[in-house]
């Protein structure tokens, strides 16, 4: 049995390869299957996002109550570039009516919740 390689190291290797233009997703999947670590796939994806963010490529989930205009999207992008020193930002958008208003931006290991729902919850917590 080989030594267990930490998720952080796998993610770093994958990110380096990806940024060098080589897609090793299949190899990674095969490795995980062989070493019986398929269960960790979700966590490894999160780690890869973190590793990419460390290298200046940021993937952000943006949730909002309705479709964002291109102006707000570029505002979010420039905010993220400035806040994380990323050189490249990629947004994954989703619409969630229950947020009531505002946006929630989630990147690797960091989050900004500026939704109306979050503020109402905060208000509820402070009043209780």
């Amino acid at each position: 049995m080989s030594i267990r390689i930490s998720r952080r190291k796998i993610a770093a290797y994958y990110a380096d390869e990806l940024l060098a233009g080589r897609d090793i997703t299949r190899q990674l999947a095969a490795y995980l299957a062989e070493s019986r670590r398929i269960r960790e796939a979700d966590l490894i994806i999160r780690d890869i996002e973190t590793a990419l963010a460390d290298r200046g490529v940021l993937v952000a989930d943006v949730a909002s109550s309705r479709e964002l205009s291109s102006a707000s999207k570029s505002a979010i992008e420039s905010y993220l570039k400035q806040a994380t020193n990323a050189t490249k930002v990629q947004l994954r958008e989703s619409v969630d009516r229950t947020l009531l208003g505002g946006v929630r931006i989630a990147t690797a290991g960091r989050e900004l919740d500026a939704t109306v729902r979050h503020r109402i919850n905060q208000l509820k917590a402070s009043k209780v």
Partner: protein
């Protein structure tokens, strides 16, 4: 319609909205991947520090945990409350601080949990200050040698193994040998003698009924006003049991740092080590001897090192510690007992055999020791009790030989008789701590031979009679003696006075 209330309500809400944070910055977050046995494993939060508090979002508010395992891929955090609400996938944020507890005089007379929440049904505790649960001990220059007595009121301890303010003296013995009783008597004595010492009693996994009984007793004795009780029960999570002594020490340190004197009682550190073992095993740290983790020595050494006598520059306050350890079948060479024995400045060893013979407190003269107390002993008690320990240990040895034959020479016989008298004299009921003059007079009466003709079984009665007579006839002298700065020699007027009273009392008890 109750329009007024609606307006008021909307004003309230408006105020609350005004106080809300305008969306902050990108916040570091992690996610719970697994949870169980009081431990939550968190992915992310790479900037978390050791022992930092984590806030886990749950459907019923926020659960707190503290990070103890910082691994390459995940964090192991110990939950400070129940784990029912914490689910995998929950969002985790950093509080940005390590654990702290409320400290200050507001806690006096209260029963609290290790996080400073009231357990006595009283008002919530609000203090001006908070103290760090884990704090580094004072350095060399901040300390002074232990030189003031911390009277326990228990004659055998004050005379043979004196404890000083700032000392750490271990109370060790099997179950049911009176370990807690000694600690409680010491607390009560602080009230009786009006020493002003603050008591902090830490119950680590003790039955709540026992704590309730203790609180009642302390109230009855009138010492609850200068006492803080930090209580954890066997049903609390191991994390709280682990934190209890550190949190309580933080509360005691407040008094130490404010020129006062405090007495810590850790009841008991065996359970503390067991709670820490549970946490460590669940955090997957490698087990060592008796399955305790490798740092179980550091667990107690860093705790007890916080007890100290401060230098004059720092206000000359003190924190005395009386940790309690329970042994199995008198085995003081087990892992945890040897650890704590080597950390502390001495130990009071209680023996089951003595306890069953009716010698209570069941203190073993041979195995008990106080390594720094000599300097701190009250002068008058020291002058009468200096040979007590040796005499008593020799007597116990002789007595075991004497069981085999009755042909003994006069010297041995008299030594045995004296030993029996001393043993009888040092018996003391619970909740009856003796003051300095009572101890001095009693020991002097036996040492000077005034009670030599009193039969052993009547020594206690003779002692009571002597103390009553001295208090009625020579109250002033006795009050003077209680100050403790007179060295008792046969030429000292007060010694002559005691001897005279003792001899006349003894006549009434002779056979």
């Amino acid at each position: 319609m109750a329009e007024l209330s609606v307006t008021e309500l909307s004003k309230d809400i408006r105020d609350a909205i005004a106080q809300l944070d305008v969306a902050g910055d990108l916040e570091t977050v992690g996610v719970v991947t697994r949870v169980g046995d009081g431990v939550a494993w968190v992915h992310g939060l790479r900037s978390a520090g050791y022992s930092e508090v984590l806030l886990i979002e749950t459907k019923n508010g926020v659960a707190e945990a503290f990070a103890l395992n910082l691994n390459e891929d995940e964090i192991g955090a110990v939950l400070l409350g129940g784990e029912e609400d914490v689910v995998a996938g929950a969002k985790v944020t950093l509080k940005g601080t390590v654990l702290d507890v409320p400290v200050g005089p507001e806690l006096l007379g209260r029963v609290v949990d290790p996080l400073g929440n009231a357990l006595d049904g009283g008002a919530p505790i609000k203090t001006k200050q908070r103290g760090l649960v884990e704090r580094e001990a004072i350095g060399v220059l901040g300390r002074k040698h232990v030189h003031e007595p911390m009277m326990t009121g228990i004659m055998s301890i004050d005379a043979m193994f004196p404890i000083g303010r700032g000392q750490r003296e271990l109370i060790i013995g099997d179950r049911q040998t009176g370990k807690t009783a000694i600690a409680i008597d010491t607390m009560i004595n602080q009230g009786r003698q009006k020493t002003g010492v603050i008591n902090v009693y830490v119950a680590i996994g003790q039955k709540l009924s026992k704590i309730a009984r203790l609180v009642d007793r302390l109230k009855e004795e009138g010492v609850m006003d200068q006492t803080i009780i930090v209580a954890t029960s066997p049903s609390d999570p191991a994390s709280l049991l682990y934190l209890a002594p550190y949190a309580a020490t933080a509360m005691g340190e407040y008094f130490r740092d404010n020129k006062q004197h405090a007495l810590m009682i850790y009841d008991d550190l065996t359970k503390h080590a067991v709670a820490y073992r549970q946490m460590s095993l669940l955090l997957r740290r490698p087990p060592g001897r008796e399955a305790f983790p490798g740092d179980v020595f550091y667990l107690h050494s860093r705790l007890l090192e916080r007890s100290a006598k401060l230098s004059d520059d720092l206000g000359a306050g003190s924190l005395t510690a009386l940790p309690i350890i329970e042994t199995q079948a008198g085995d003081i060479s087990a892992y945890i007992p040897t650890n704590v024995i080597s950390i502390t400045d001495g130990q009071i060893f209680l023996e089951t055999d003595l306890f069953n013979q009716g010698i209570r407190p069941a203190i073993s003269a041979g195995l008990s020791v106080s390594r720094v107390g000599g300097d701190a002993q009250t002068k008058s008690v020291k002058s009468v009790g200096s040979h007590l320990k040796l005499g008593l240990s020799q007597f116990r040895e002789l007595a075991s030989f004497a069981q085999f034959g009755s042909d003994l020479d006069e010297a041995t016989k008299s030594q045995i008789e004296k030993g029996q008298r001393l043993t009888e004299l040092l018996k003391q009921h619970q909740y009856t701590p003796a003051s300095v003059w009572e101890q001095t007079a009693s020991i002097y009466a036996v040492n000077s031979g005034s009670f030599d003709k009193v039969p052993v079984s009547k020594i206690k009665d003779a002692q009571t009679a002597l103390l009553t007579r001295l208090w009625t006839d020579h109250k002033k002298d006795m009050q003077e003696l209680t100050k403790g700065d007179v060295k008792i020699t046969d030429e000292e007027p007060v010694a002559k006075l005691i001897k005279k009273a003792a001899e006349s009392v003894a006549k009434g008890f002779e056979e």
